[in-house]
């Protein structure tokens, strides 16, 4: 069913289309993290991370396993709040507003900052309900027509509409892995978030599904600020405009993606992107 001839099956290894014209670093960043420290109990997982993420662009977080990039990503929508032993210190701002301020409601924040997870995790409900769930709990839709419009719109933006429009009542868990992940993206964008966090969204997918998601990210970034954690340096090179390299809980270097991959400032970045460790 996934037959789209225009999709590249073999992803190019060379980082060619990195956003040279990136709009980044002009104007205010969409999200800005300053001196973020994070502890799991006694163990410190992030050390003084400073990172700016810009609107209408993709920021990739790369680094070896356990370097804290996923942890940092989860700070951006306060998903770490649900972990009892986790403690965050520092300043993270969304449009200049401190998201850890006491008056900020984490639930509302998560509507503005959507998240897509490593493993596709659709609800064990119908495809329609999966997408309609966000608008339902946030009350952005009232009538059936509104729901249908949002569901169709989100699924279309996620590139899934054509494949599932005839079986919206079937369970989302019955889809293939790639379709499930696009369903999760549709679910995340159904509430019109300003930022979309993606935690290794393609690590459980085959190359075809991966390519589809990457194309999708390219389209979505026109309206969104996307932050993606990835283990694949090719993917970072393909989809992102800016890349941040994490190592042992520290942000080593952040710059234009092309610069990180061709001429990094730090020796560790150089070693990592050339495959000497990690």
């Amino acid at each position: 069913m996934e037959e789209r001839p225009s999709i590249q099956v073999e992803a190019p290894a060379v980082p060619e289309k990195t956003g040279g014209e990136a709009p980044a670093e002009q104007g205010d960043p969409k999200m800005k993290a300053a001196d973020v420290n994070l502890w799991y109990g006694e163990k410190q997982a992030l050390f003084d991370v400073n990172l700016e993420m810009f609107d209408k662009s993709v920021t990739a977080l790369i680094g070896p396993s356990g370097c804290g990039k996923s942890t940092f990503l989860r700070c951006l929508d306060r998903m770490n709040d649900v972990i009892d032993i986790c403690r965050v210190q520092g300043d993270i701002r969304l449009d200049g507003e401190d998201i850890y301020a006491p008056r900020v409601d984490p639930v509302q924040l998560r509507a503005r900052v959507g998240m897509v997870f490593q493993k596709p995790n659709p609800f064990p409900k119908s495809i329609f309900e999966n997408v309609a769930y966000g608008p339902r709990i946030h009350g952005t839709c009232r009538t059936k027509a509104e729901f249908e419009e949002v569901v169709e719109g989100s699924l279309t933006r996620a590139g899934l509409w054509e494949e599932v429009k005839d079986r919206l009542d079937e369970p989302g868990t019955g889809l293939s892995g790639g379709q499930q992940q696009r369903l999760c993206i549709a679910r995340a964008i159904s509430v019109n978030p300003e930022v979309l966090l993606m935690d290794e969204p393609c690590s459980a997918l085959d190359p075809i599904a991966t390519a589809k998601i990457e194309t999708l990210m390219d389209e979505l970034k026109e309206n969104l600020c996307i932050v993606i954690v990835t283990h694949s340096m090719q993917q970072a090179a393909r989809v992102s405009q800016r890349t941040a390299f994490f190592h042992l809980g520290k942000l080593v270097e952040v710059d234009q993606t092309s610069k990180i991959f061709t001429n990094p400032a730090d020796q560790r970045t150089q070693d990592y992107v050339t495959g000497r460790f990690g």
């Binding site: 897509v116 995790n121 064990p124 769930y133 966000g134 709990i137 868990t173």
Partner: protein, 542 residues
């Protein structure tokens, strides 16, 4: 380096050596042994279960049938007023019907013959006539239950005749036979005993003691007066007769023939002496035989077992009261323990901070599950009855006590079910901006529901079978009618009903106890099947 050397480099194991082979054989043997242990254990468990169920079915099966006689009854319009059928002389109608069905019963025996029918026969007739007023003036054929002894007799549980002599008595007689004391004399089986004809006894005419003493002399160690039943009633007369024939024997030891009693004579003839079962008399059995000969007796399915309440008469006793009581108690138990259990489990699992206090609560909940149920019964007695003054024997209190027992089970299984919901679902819901309670209500609880329901039903099944706490709060009342049952009225329950039936002396309650156990087991099986079905139905894959 050649290939062979690669496979077995110097200093490593030679897999073809005897030692290695032996090790392999030992490993296989150990595997088989372990399997055999498992199979033996399972076979033992299944076998014991089979024996239990088989014995229950064998004992309990007769209780599912009830012997009834199709008695033609003429509903005499002169005895039943069509305007007020409830107050007719139904006892008289039954009497007349019985006299007609079994003619020639002597007047003094009619009363005992009526005992063939259940004591409730007149009420059965009354209920029928009240329901069918058009039957007044006609002759109807109504199935009337037989009373318990005849029910048991027809089912072959108890015999018409019993052994007259027990094995000890038979052995006494055998000892006499071995000593050649048993002889035929004057056409009667007699004992040829040595008798010292005591002059004092002769003077008093006390020949009974003389005869007895002479028999006792053969059994110096037996101290059982039933020994003397061996002598026929006219045995002492044999001494008297001998003395009359020859007065010279007084003061001497002579041999005298004592005729043996009827049963021993039969035994000597090589037959098994029997007597009529003391539950019956001849007239009753004659009447019973008439019923049998005319083919008026049948054993239809005993619906009364399910629709009657308890009774002192086994043929009337049913489980309706117990089932109703158990139902009310379980209803209360469910209403209390299901919401409280789920609320407690959700809070402990999802919201409670992890600290000393919650740890303590958790440990105590797990401990509560292991507390013997009788302790909960005492608690209920002291707190619910003693302190709050709730009514004794009431299903409300029974349900409350049972819910104390069920709560830990429900909390523990609910927590396990909540834990089993994959974290990715929670993250997904949190990720689209669901609040904690929305995550809980919309996603986690529905997914955990099959597990929760399974746990709840298993907890309920446990509660259904629980006896001790109900006995302590007195929920084993004698309930002869289900009409007035309610949450606050005295009640009984299935397990306590089994308990009180097991204690009853009537023969019919033996099979009814087993039948009630089967009914209880049936309910348990049904509940477990429901649990399994629910789990299958709601189980989702992710």
């Amino acid at each position: 380096m050649s290939d062979a050397q690669v496979l077995t480099p110097a200093g490593t194991i030679d897999w073809n050596s005897d030692k290695a082979q032996r090790r392999v054989r030992r490993r296989y043997a150990a595997d088989r042994r372990l399997q055999a242990y498992g199979i033996i254990a399972i076979a033992l468990a299944v076998g014991l279960l089979g024996v239990l169920v088989a014995s229950l079915v064998r004992t309990g099966f007769p209780a599912f049938l009830q012997t009834k006689v199709d008695l033609p009854i003429h509903v005499d319009a002169s005895k039943v007023d069509a305007e007020d059928p409830a107050s007719g002389n139904y006892r008289g109608l039954i009497k007349a019907a019985l006299n007609k069905a079994i003619p020639d019963v002597p007047k003094d025996q009619q009363r005992s013959v009526r005992k063939i029918l259940t004591s409730h026969a007149a009420y059965i007739l009354r209920d029928y006539v009240v329901d069918h007023p058009d039957s007044i003036g006609k002759t109807i054929t109504l199935p009337i239950a037989l009373s318990d002894p005849f029910d048991q007799l027809y089912k072959g549980v108890i015999p018409k005749h019993m052994d007259a002599l027990n094995w000890v008595q038979e052995e006494w007689f055998e000892r006499l036979q071995n000593r050649n004391v048993v002889v035929e004399h004057d056409g009667r089986t007699s004992l040829k005993l040595d008798v010292y004809v005591d002059p004092a006894a002769v003077e008093d005419g006390d020949y009974v003691d003389l005869a007895r003493n002479s028999l006792q002399a053969y059994f110096p160690r037996v101290r059982d007066s039933s020994l003397f039943e061996m002598l026929a009633p006219d045995a002492p007369a044999a001494i008297e007769k001998a003395v009359a024939e020859d007065p010279a024997i007084v003061g001497k030891t002579v041999q005298i023939y004592f005729p043996v009693s009827e049963h021993y004579a039969t035994l000597a003839a090589g037959e098994e002496p029997t007597i009529l079962n003391p539950r019956f008399n001849e007239a009753q059995l004659a009447a019973y035989d008439v019923f049998v000969d005319k083919g008026m007796l049948r054993t239809p399915f005993n619906w009364e077992l399910f629709f009657n309440a308890d009774s002192r008469f086994p043929e009337r006793a049913g489980l309706a009261g117990a089932i109703t009581g158990s139902f009310y108690a379980l209803l209360v138990c469910f209403m209390l323990s299901f919401p409280i259990g789920i609320a407690a489990a959700v809070y402990l699992e999802e919201f409670a901070p992890k600290n000393r206090l919650t740890d303590l609560i958790e440990v105590n909940i797990n401990n509560l599950a292991a507390v013997p149920s009788v302790v909960f019964g005492l608690l209920g007695l002291a707190v619910f009855l003693g302190f709050f003054g709730l009514p004794r024997s009431a299903p409300l209190v029974g349900g409350m006590v049972l819910s104390l027992m069920t709560l830990p089970t429900i909390i523990i299984t609910t927590r396990a079910a909540l834990k089993a919901v994959p974290p990715s679902i929670r993250e997904a819901a949190l990720g689209v901006g669901a609040s904690k309670h929305q995550v809980m209500l919309h996603h986690v609880l529905p997914l955990a529901l099959p597990g929760i329901l399974t746990g709840t039903i298993i907890g309920m099944a446990q509660a259904l079978g629980e006896t001790a706490p109900l006995l302590l709060i007195g929920m084993n009342a004698f309930i002869p009618s289900v009409e007035n049952m309610g949450l606050l009225e005295p009640a009984t329950s299935l397990p306590t009903q089994i308990f009180s039936w097991a204690d009853s002396p009537e023969r019919g309650f033996v099979s009814r106890t087993s039948a009630a156990i089967l009914v209880l087991l049936g309910f348990l099986v049904i509940m477990n099947l429901v649990a399994i079905t629910l789990r299958q139905m709601f189980q989702r894959k992710w």
